[in-house]
């Protein structure tokens, strides 16, 4: 019976967007309130349906009573349940920060809900063309939200993102076209059997795989297809950066996982090992280059953005290796990265609101003045580096275990080295925050400062007004840090919950 409620996961935020516009006619606060209510309801719905899917096995429904493969099928298994819940929870949490940080306005809230619509749609659909439609909704909403910063810079970044994103989605569509050409069907489950019948070494199937992977890898921002991403993250409003860094690429990577294992199935990799090797190599390069680029950044948000390039490399390596442990590790890292990176972007936003600091150097001495914010950020960074027992370690452990079991030694080396690569940029920041003399912007944000020899009042009016981080931002960052650790501690429970799903995915 809960099957029939699946379309609601998409309809609810879509309807919410309409409602938000309607409420916005009354007042902007009403729009914000509607958005909050809708996302809370979405969280409840996703949690409920997700738990059903985990406990009683996958839910599926043909929309409008048209059965698959003729109609569009929506499917929620353990994996999509996890992504759905992540989308709902993170968007609700970030909204708390967005209401005080972002440009606001009715259009902003409506677009925010449309982004959730697109992401939820991508997570629940069982049809490859339907996925394209939601990919584009997600894209459109993201471009607009990036540009909502209102600066010229953000408009340029959004346009660049739009051009890249459209080409990526078009390549995905071309891949769908090849698959359709080879099989005549669009339903994922149906495609799995039809593609096998068409023969995995058929040029059409290979081309479809190649275009779909390249398209989604661009959306996921793997090197060298990442070039839209740092600008977009850096120039978006801080809350939007947090939202898209946590969710947009995450769901794209989820889609990649879904297509590789539900549509192409492990048998495809068996038949065409070079496809797997290419994907692994591609992602491994992304890990290394992303980190190197992150080290060279002076701006915090850009550094975090390049860090994502590297971290998604790790995720894709895991899912490409394709042993149960590696795929589970990829999923854990996907979820964990969303939490950690989202928290870090919120922290970056809160710091910018507080002190105006946006570069690594300006972060100097931050933790002395704002110990809780600094401490929670440091926990998130160390979690990202892979210090146990946080979730960053758990993901890395499973991916590495999978790589070693699969005997992919060079990949194992890259995965292990990724710890040090990640350390390279985060350690620098931690050092600045904790044990460097305070920067001017940090000094300006606090009264005088401990050293007392700089009379900060003489520095003139400083842009930031607050002297302590907003309670919401602080709660989000601390919350993210706590979740990152808790998720790492309960990772085996997550493993138990997702085991049937992953076994099904990986069964030939």
């Amino acid at each position: 019976m809960s099957d029939t409620l699946l379309p609601l996961l998409v309809a609810l935020p879509l309807l919410g967007a309409v409602l938000a516009v309607a409420a916005g006619l009354a007042s902007e606060r009403a729009a914000a309130a509607v958005t909050t209510l809708v996302l809370a309801a979405q969280t409840g719905l996703a949690g409920w349906l997700g738990s059903q899917a985990v406990l009683d096995g996958p839910l599926s429904v043909g929309v409008g009573g048209f059965v698959a493969p003729y109609g569009i099928e929506l499917v929620v298994d353990g994996l999509s349940a996890a992504v759905l819940v992540l989308v709902a929870v993170v968007s609700l949490a970030v909204l708390a920060f967005a209401t005080e940080d972002a440009p606001g306005g009715t259009a902003f809230y409506a677009q925010y809900l449309l982004l959730v619509t697109g992401l939820s749609g991508m997570a629940v659909t069982g049809d490859v063309f339907n996925l394209y439609v939601f990919l584009e909704i997600t894209g459109l909403a993201t471009y607009a939200l990036v540009a909502s910063a209102g600066t010229g810079r953000s408009a340029v970044s959004a346009l660049k993102y739009l051009l890249f994103g459209t080409v990526a989605a078009s390549l995905y569509l071309l891949g769908v076209g090849y698959a359709l050409m080879a099989t005549g069907t669009l339903n994922m489950a149906d495609l799995a059997t039809e593609l096998a019948a068409a023969g995995y070494d058929s040029p059409l199937v290979l081309a479809s795989f190649g275009f779909i992977v390249v398209g989604l890898a661009t959306k996921t921002a793997l090197f060298p297809l990442h070039t839209w991403q740092p600008d977009a993250y850096a120039d978006a409003p801080d809350s939007v950066s947090a939202l898209i860094a946590a969710l947009v690429s995450t769901v794209a990577a989820y889609a990649l996982l879904r297509l590789i294992y539900t549509v192409y199935t492990p048998a495809f990799f068996e038949a065409v090992p070079v496809a797997r090797d290419a994907l692994v190599a591609f992602a491994a390069v992304s890990i290394v280059v992303g980190s190197v680029l992150a080290v060279t950044q002076s701006e915090i948000k850009r550094m975090l953005a390049y860090s994502s390039v590297s971290q998604y490399g790790l995720v894709v390596v895991g899912l490409a290796i394709g042993t149960p442990a590696a795929v589970f590790g990829a999923v854990v890292h996907l979820l964990g990265h969303a939490i950690m990176k989202g928290g870090l972007f919120v922290a970056a936003g809160a710091v910018a609101d507080l002190t105006g600091a946006r570069t690594v150097d300006e972060y100097a001495g931050l933790a002395d003045r704002f110990p809780v914010l600094g401490g929670a950020s440091a926990v998130l960074m160390l979690a990202m580096v892979g210090v146990p027992p946080a979730v960053g370690f758990a993901g890395k452990w499973y991916i590495a275990l999978g790589a070693v079991r699969a005997g992919s030694w060079p990949v194992a080396v890259v995965i292990f080295a990724s710890t040090l690569l990640t350390l390279a940029y985060f350690a620098l920041l931690v050092e600045r925050m904790f044990v460097a003399p305070a920067s001017e912007s940090v000094l300006a944000a606090t009264d005088g400062g401990r050293d007392g020899d700089d009379d900060t009042d003489a520095l003139g009016p400083s842009p930031p007004s607050a002297s302590r981080p907003s309670r919401r931002a602080l709660a989000l960052v601390v919350g993210a840090a706590v979740v990152a650790i808790v998720l790492g501690v309960v990772v085996t429970d997550l493993g138990t919950a997702l085991e049937p799903t992953i076994d099904t995915l990986l069964s030939p």
Partner: protein, 178 residues
């Protein structure tokens, strides 16, 4: 079907106008060439027995899109030029990469109009053709699939348009909303 003269002419026209849109630096000229190209595409689709799509393309591709381009020019600036675009290493490489990878698959594609191709002979298309009228009562199967079997796509399509509208508000009329 082997290549017929009308199709060949349309294809050549499309190619020519697309190429013109590409190389002309003059933006207005490029837009005009693009409109011509879109029109060519619409005609091609009519010839390929896709009247609904042809109509939409004529209205949306050749019509609305062109208007949008011109409106944009009206609100920004018109770059006049009587020169052509050059070619750089970057674009050259990209073009070669695309032509080689996509081109390599062409021999493997079923011939245009081959009735045994999976899309035509496959279960899904045949199911639509056989059952659409009985199940939906609509004689045009394209419409039946659009609003019936794949209605969820159409909902998504509506969401896309909605999102685009909101996006325009966010991007252009920001001041009014803040």
């Amino acid at each position: 079907m082997s290549l017929s003269v009308p199709v060949a002419v349309v294809l050549l026209f499309m190619l020519g106008s697309a190429l013109a849109a590409a190389v002309i630096r003059d933006v207005v000229g490029s837009i005009v060439a693009f409109a011509g190209y879109s029109f060519g595409v619409a005609v091609l689709w009519a010839l390929l027995r896709a009247p609904d799509v042809a109509l939409t393309e004529a209205a949306v591709g050749a019509g609305i899109t062109t208007v949008l381009f011109l409106l944009t020019l009206a609100r920004t600036t018109v770059t006049r030029s009587d020169r052509f675009e050059g070619i750089s290493l970057r674009s050259g490489l990209a073009v070669v990469a695309i032509v080689v990878t996509v081109g390599a698959t062409v021999p493997a594609l079923p011939a245009v109009g081959d009735p045994s191709a999976p899309i035509l002979a496959g279960d899904v298309s045949q199911y639509y053709l056989t059952n659409a009228y009985d199940q939906t009562g609509v004689t045009n199967v394209v419409t039946a699939v659009l609003v019936g079997y794949r209605g969820f796509d159409t909902l998504g399509e509506v969401a896309v348009v909605f999102a685009a509208g909101i996006a325009m508000l966010l991007v252009l009329r920001r001041e009014a909303f803040v």
